[in-house]
Amino acid sequence: MLPLKIRVRDLTFHYGPHCAIDGLNLDIYQGEILGLMGPAKSGKTTFLRVLNRMCDLVPGVRLQGSVHLDGQEILAPDCDVDSLRRRVGMVFAKPVPLPRSIFENLAFAPRLQKKHQHREELAALVETSLRAAQLWEEVKDRLHDSALKLSGGQQQRLCLARTLAMQPEVILLDEPTSGLDPISTARIEETLTELKKDFTIILVSNNTKQIARCSDKVAFLLMSRLVEYGVTPEVFMVPKQKETDDYISGRFG
């Protein structure tokens, strides 16, 4: 049995009058990939943004319930949001390299944290992160070129590497391959499978096949509610709920 990393109990989330998550209960274990699938507006992205408190940035939200990370409540008002976000990294749907060099994209946040002061230490961190994201071989000779010159797939792997450079415990991926070609997608998926032994990964995707390929557990959200949760092959072979069956066989979505 893998250790429990995140425990979500009765999580309810409102944007003004609109309910985005309705009474969610979910256990997420360390060392595996949880795939989150569901049609648009089902609350997937909102859920990710609760886990690193990025939801705080939107005015007029209401949160109820509890989310524990290693047994510690992260929705508590006194939770240190900045350090939480360093533990729970996020990769966005659109690759957003900052307008700096490849090296700086990875190094600037760890440097601000003051944990890595020395140049050699930083350089080592950058190299390990780029290797883990399978980008090192392609960029090792031009680390000081602008990150904006990379291709879309490379940019997304750069963003993944940037998140890894923060040495997080949990990685949230919000449709990380939605804008990428099949080859880049395959490389990202490969990377994720590589990474899961060291991290807890939550992967949101509109591509059910991707979820089936990559994830160990899968949760299906529909209309702000958790409809089904289970081990991936089981959910895809013998879904317990009719909605899940309809969704993965493409009868709606």
């Binding site: 990025m54 900045d82 996020m90 966005f92 940037r162 998140t163």
Partner: protein
Amino acid sequence: MRLDPYLTERLMKSLLWCLTGLTIFALIFIITFISIKGLPQLSLGFFFHDIEDMGRAGGIFPTIISTIYLTLIALVVASPLGVGSAIYLTEYTTEGWITRLIRFGAECLAGVPSIILGLFGFVLFVIKLNFGWSMLSGGLSLAIMVLPTIIRTSEEALKAVPKEYQDVCFSLGLSKWQTITRVVLPCALPGIMTGIVLSIGRSIGETAVVLFTAGASLRTPTSLFDSGRSMAVHFYILAREGLSMPNAYGTAAILIISILLINISAYTLMQSFLKRYQ
């Protein structure tokens, strides 16, 4: 009868070309006119000598110093105020009636005629605060004059920075202030600098505000509380009193050339900054 679209296209294209040409022509005309009249007056002495005989003879050294003084004070005061307000308005508040009121206020300030700003500066700084006709009074009044420009351009520049950059920074555990100083401001800097360079140009060329607040002393100012005349004021007095048209044109030529040089160097600096950052 309908016009042939092809004909309209050609007609409009030439019309727009003429309008653009006219604008450029006005600029070229002014610069050539001032250069032809003013450049022959220039000599090393003109730059480095004191004003003699009310400006009929001698150089314009004191007015150059006054202008630099005034512009520097205006910049040092207005830039932090303006950029700070812009950061507050774009990053630290949500859009509401307060921000709209502040923005409306800044716009009204931009619409105040400079002569009235001069009068205001006179009443507040020269009389009430007892700074007298001085570099300080003039610089502060100029600061009020350029503040709306700096706020407005900085705000636009900050708003143009993609929101995603901030999301990324927050997701990497950066605080708001770190995000602003490390990522948002460097991205917005070219836009902010444009506003500041524009303000330098306006401060150097401003006459009415300075005439009322810095006075028109012929001596070289040595402290914040000295009076002195800027190049623009000197030009105004020379031309208006009919003291010496050649010297007036000489001053005007220096005025225009210095503004041109500042614009060019600011632009070059910006380009090298952009290269380094991207």
